[in-house]
């Protein structure tokens, strides 16, 4: 082809049109539309699942582009569907009992949420909601059904345009209930307005969308540290504005969204929530909407809510902050959690220092070594500190792995039960207490070091979790719910008995070498370290600090390692109930 033939007939037509004057129907008249079309094309491409997607190919095989990571299911999944009046539950092998459990949770969610929004469905009924269950985060992330990027880390997603949601089966029944009800609320509240998302009118702010989902989630199923983050922000005067809450991202935003929705429901009734949502779709997030439904301006609502929060969170306000006496035990290293001694002065802990997820790290005489390069959700250290058993979902399902601390060698642990959630190594070294979730709720089993089941400690319909061994290796303390609060129970080798009964939560017990049980005590976002006598059940709060302290582990000599939440970060502190050592 000659160079001067580089213009085709189509191009010549376009050039000719450019040469015409606008009043003659020239290009200027249509250029605005043309650019709009191009912008829409770019928008479509930007929103395609892979940013490097070929412009001209709309398949999603992974062959369209040179680089980029792709979803690769770690194992074959045999999908089934369980159909009901309001829901269709999609699940695969190993989740049969969980799917049946989900059916009742979903009906509970429907009955909890639907009546308040039934007015949205007078003309069009809500079609059956499709619920897709995944056994692990890895299965979830590698599934096309989620519609999320490979690296996204939500517990579930709701595709309200098509009435479909995908959730990860949570470690506990409580968490699963929370995630399911949260996501179902999204579908019930947003699906009726699916056509408005692309049309005229307004959009609801995220604080109401997520706030409704959190509000309808039962209190005991709400992630506890969301309220912890809210309390911390109230103390620090770091509440975000209504404008900022149009976009909800982290824990604090979710907590604020819940608190604001809860405030409106308390002050104006549940009916106002549906009205507010509907008005947002008509008029948008403007003063007019608030005036019409609540009778006050947006600013006034924010100020009233803020005053309510100041009143709500009083506990611990006057206590000294831990930072006035102690420094974080390790500087840097991102989010840090669950520090446990590993003998000879070594400490193992979880950190998100070099990953979006938590890995195991070993602290030894001031030096820190990364032990794993995969997500670790729980772990236990052998009595001599030479080995660590940890749980990871790197193969798709949750599995136990054995790690040699010195060499770093990792081998699979042949556990006879599926879906381990927690593990605790007996102080005598010859058996394990493993929390597993095979039927929707967690139970505790005794397991040999060969992976065989020795005994079932608990097998009830509620969650039983967080086992910790007594120093003699014969008894266990664990957590289970009783009348709406988490309580400590003791298993003495034969029988289980309730140890605590106060009207607050008792979590994360650790049986100390001094014979006392250390645990996390509190509710409403304020958790402290406490200790209880295993025989008499007498409880004493140890931490005098303003901050929430989690996962406390007593060290020989009286000091305690705790995870402290402060200003959006979790750091490990080493503190003493008798106060800091004074030097000089």
């Amino acid at each position: 082809m000659r160079p001067d033939e580089g213009y085709t007939r189509a191009h010549a037509r376009f050039r000719a049109r450019l040469q015409r004057r606008p009043e003659e129907g020239g290009a200027r008249r249509t250029m605005g539309k043309r650019w709009f079309l191009w912008l829409l094309l770019i928008f479509v491409l930007i929103n395609s699942p892979f940013l490097s997607h070929a412009a001209i190919e709309l398949t999603n095989t992974g062959a369209e582009y040179h680089f980029g990571q792709v979803k690769s299911p770690p194992r074959p999944l045999e999908w089934r569907v369980l159909k009901d009046t309001h829901f269709e539950i999609y699940f695969y092998q190993g989740l049969e009992e969980v799917a049946l459990r989900c059916r009742s949770i979903l009906e509970e969610a429907y009955n909890r949420v639907y009546p308040d929004f039934s007015g949205f469905f007078t003309i069009n009924r809500l079609p059956p909601v499709r619920v897709i269950l995944f056994a692990s985060r890895r299965d979830f992330q590698n599934a096309e059904a989620t519609g999320t990027p490979l690296t996204a880390t939500p517990e579930g997603v709701a595709h309200f345009l098509v009435g479909r949601l995908a959730v990860i089966c949570q470690p506990t029944l409580r968490d699963l209930r929370g995630v399911l009800i949260h996501e179902v609320t999204h579908i019930i509240t947003l699906h009726p307005f699916r056509n408005r998302f692309l049309g005229s009118g307004g959009q609801p702010p995220d604080w109401l969308v997520e706030g409704l989902a959190e509000y309808y989630t039962p209190e005991e199923s709400r992630f506890p540290m969301r309220e912890g983050a809210l309390r911390d922000a109230v103390f620090r005067e770091k509440l975000t504005t209504m404008d900022q809450l149009r976009s909800v991202r982290g824990n604090l935003d979710y907590a604020q969204a819940w608190a604001l929705t809860d405030f409106i429901a308390r002050e104006y009734g549940n009916r106002s929530l549906a009205e507010l949502l509907k008005e947002f779709f008509i008029n948008g997030d403007r003063d007019l909407t608030y005036q019409k439904v609540l009778g006050l301006s947006r600013r006034e609502l924010w100020e009233n809510w803020r005053a309510d929060l100041q009143e709500r969170y009083q506990a611990g306000r006057d206590a000294p902050p831990i930072t006035s006496q102690y420094e974080p035990w390790i500087a840097g290293y991102g989010q840090q959690m669950r520090a446990v001694p590993a003998g000879e002065g070594r400490i193992v802990f979880l950190s998100s220092h070099q990953s979006k997820y938590f890995d195991l790290y070993l602290w030894e005489r001031g030096k820190i070594r990364r032990l794993t390069e995969e997500t670790v959700s729980a772990y236990t250290v052998s009595p001599d500190g030479g080995e660590i058993l940890f749980i990871s979902d790197k193969e798709g399902e949750n599995l136990l792995y054995r790690l040699e601390t010195v060499t770093g060698r990792i081998t699979p642990f042949p556990l006879a039960l599926g879906n381990p959630v927690e593990v605790a190594w007996s102080p005598t070294g010859e058996r394990l207490a493993v929390t597993v979730n095979t039927k929707g709720d967690t139970d505790i089993y005794l397991i040999s070091l060969e992976g065989e089941v020795l005994a079932c400690v608990t097998g009830g319909e509620a969650d039983e979790m967080s086992p910790s061994w007594a120093p003699d290796g014969e008894r266990l303390v664990y957590v289970s719910e009783q009348a709406g609060f988490d309580q400590l129970y003791i298993w003495d080798g034969k029988k289980n008995r309730l140890l605590t009964s106060a009207g607050t939560h008792h979590r994360e017990p650790v049986w100390g070498e001094d014979g006392r049980i250390y645990f996390t005590f509190g509710d409403r976002g304020y958790y402290r370290t406490a200790v209880v006598d295993p025989d008499e059940g007498k409880t004493e709060v140890l931490s005098p600090f303003q901050e929430t302290l989690l996962e406390s582990y007593p060290l020989p000599g009286g000091e305690i390692l705790s995870t402290v939440y402060r200003d959006g970060t979790y750091k490990i502190y080493r503190w003493s109930p008798s106060g800091p050592e004074r030097k000089g």
Partner: protein, 374 residues
């Protein structure tokens, strides 16, 4: 007769027992059923104007519940310009395999985002398959029939665009375990492809291409990136405007191997980067390119601390050579060094580089880039 009945009785009983098993009365009843995929509409976005002439743009997506079947389509009609463009893609996922078919007719820009090289109209059909071994590694296959005709050619573009039809194929092995936050990993592929003169198509050639990029974190802020890239086309019958072109930055799309429509968008990695030289400076049927870049995060103090804004500084050395019909196209050393800044804006990298060619006759140049160059 009686004996006959006696002999037939066991046969009747067997027959009855055999067919009574068809009804699984004894089997365990389960309340679920196997999943069967079926396409449903997810959404359709129609944008339609009519002011005497019709402009319509429609984007739609259909999928099965588990999205193991997906259909996306895009239609663009402009009555005044007598344009009717469409792209339709159907994907099927089955375990680690994904297969897809695309049908398209669309004007496409072959060149970087901000500088048209060649606009051509492409109509074709592509069959794709990928074995997704892991998240980081995959083996892909492509068979594609395409008819193309030029719409526009930039004056700086060195080759005259062809009008023709090609039946291309490609097999490619790919690895990408790069982590931007850790500034660590490898991006690499090796590809064998070409075209066959079947079904009345006019091109016949074989192409081999490789790309290898390695990222070394030196500390929390500083990383070194090393890149080697090369390719060779055997056979004279290839569309000359789809050969190898180097020069400038983010010379995307130019050297799509058997990958005929290697249409990177704004975020695609550059196919070649030879800073210090103008776009489309060199074109040929064989090339080699190497890059070394030292990258420092100036703000914030760690990649894990990146939120909306970040600033990076770079120093680099680029070098390459290109051959056509066995002849090197440049006798001077085609190499350049320089430095630059990269702005991280809400996930999008915007880069400004200043490159000084080693060739004393050439002048230093500024280069703008969008997205990751490496």
């Amino acid at each position: 007769m009686k004996n006959t009945h006696c002999r037939l009785l066991p046969a009747f009983l067997s027959f009855f027992l055999l067919f009574s098993c068809v009804t699984p009365t004894g089997a365990e009843e389960v309340p679920w059923e196997p999943y069967r995929p079926r396409l449903e509409t997810e959404y359709i976005i129609p944008v339609i104007f009519y002011d005497g002439t019709l402009y319509a743009l429609i984007y739609g997506r259909m999928s099965s519940v588990l999205r193991d079947r997906e259909l996306q389509f895009f239609l663009w009609a402009d009555e005044e310009a007598a344009v009717f463009n469409y792209v339709l893609g159907y994907t099927r996922h089955h375990g680690k395999w994904s297969t897809g078919v695309n049908l398209y007719s669309m004007p496409v820009n072959i060149g970087p985002v901000w500088a048209s090289g060649v606009w051509e109209n492409q109509t074709g059909l592509s069959l794709l398959a990928a074995y997704r071994r892991t998240n980081e590694t995959r083996l892909t296959f492509r068979l594609q029939w395409e008819k193309f005709s030029p719409l526009y050619k930039a004056s700086s573009f060195p080759e005259d665009p062809d009008e023709g039809t090609v039946l291309g194929w490609e097999v490619k092995a790919m690895k990408d375990d790069f982590s931007f936050l850790a500034q660590k990993g490898t991006r690499a592929y090796i590809s064998l492809g070409g075209a066959l003169p079947l079904f009345n198509t006019g091109y016949r050639y074989i192409k081999v291409e490789e790309d290898w990029r390695r990222y070394y974190p030196l500390n929390d802020r500083v990383s070194a990136i090393f890149s080697l890239r090369g390719g060779k086309i055997w056979g004279d019958d290839y569309p000359s405007h789809r050969g190898f072109v180097i020069g400038g930055i983010q010379q995307a799309n130019m050297s799509g191997l058997g990958n005929l429509v290697n249409q990177g968008t704004l975020w695609a990695l550059a196919d070649s980067t030879l800073r210090g030289y103008p776009l489309f400076q060199f074109s040929g049927d064989g090339f080699f390119l190497g890059n070394l870049e030292l990258r420092t995060l100036l703000y914030p103090s760690s990649y894990y601390g990146l939120n909306f804004f970040g600033l990076l500084g770079t120093v680099f050395l680029d070098a390459g050579q290109i051959w056509k019909d066995g002849q090197a196209l440049s006798t001077c050393p085609t190499a350049a060094w320089g430095g630059g800044l990269k702005f991280f804006l809400g996930g999008l990298l915007v880069g400004v580089d200043y490159a000084v060619p080693m060739d004393p006759a050439a002048n230093p140049r500024w280069h703008l880039s969008l997205g990751e160059v490496f």
